[in-house]
Amino acid sequence: MNSDSYKRFIIQPNDYFNAGSASSEIKKMLRSMKLSPHLIKRISVAAYEAEINIVIHSYGGCVDFKRVNNTIYLQFSDTGPGIEDIELAMQPGYSTANETSRLNGFGAGMGLVNIKKSCDSMTLISDPNGTILKLQFHITEETDG
């Protein structure tokens, strides 16, 4: 049985200078838990994509990291403007990224697709007041380093 751990990281909108720093800190926490490199990569990829979505598309938000026993929970929350059409946003190649984010290498329309593929469970709810993305990753014998 592992002890619970929790941490919150603030994510600023349009801050391309620090984009990825929350995911980087999460990766360090995962490494300290001695999880397998494969699981760490899966969680890191999902965390980075979700963090970048908040940087590019939102008015700002945060990510809450939590481990309870053999599950890693990530919850990304922002304060809007929300995803107009979630079904469309989940389609590979669909992107509403602006010119600045495209110049920074984003806007492939693969963010949510990558997140869904990387996690064991994903819940996405959104309205004009904000978006909440909940992800779960199970630590199994195969993924526990």
């Binding site: 984009a19 990766k27 990829v45 994509e49 492939a108 693969m110 963010g111």
Partner: protein
């Protein structure tokens, strides 16, 4: 397998610490859309990209990529080099195109 030291005689410029010349890499991945890089470069330890920004370094750190080669590069901002040194990443640059870099590495038996 190739090392950073193999690239310097081919005209690549090493921007980060010279002590990194011994860093080796086994597999390269070339890409400029970071979500695609995140999806597909998971086993690579060298990234070739035209993007010369901090987000490339963040992706490299997340994927455990050790070497980043910036293609079609005229100039690198010192902020990028400073961040790369902080993260112990090797950054090289060249005016060559990504495809020509891969062909050159193959021609020189570095892949």
């Amino acid at each position: 397998m190739a090392s950073v030291a193999d690239l310097i005689p081919l005209g690549y410029t090493l921007h980060t610490q010279s002590s990194q010349r011994d860093t080796s890499f086994h597999e390269v991945y070339a890409g400029d859309l970071l979500s695609v890089v995140l999806r597909s470069a998971k086993t690579a330890d060298c990234l070739i990209t035209v993007l010369a920004n901090l987000n490339v370094l963040a992706v490299a750190v997340l994927l455990d990529i050790k070497v980043v080669i910036i293609s079609e590069c005229e100039e690198l901002h010192s902020t990028l080099i400073d961040r790369a040194n902080q993260e112990a990443l090797v950054v090289l640059s060249t005016p060559k195109k990504s495809v020509d870099i891969i062909l050159e590495l193959a021609r020189n038996h570095l892949l």
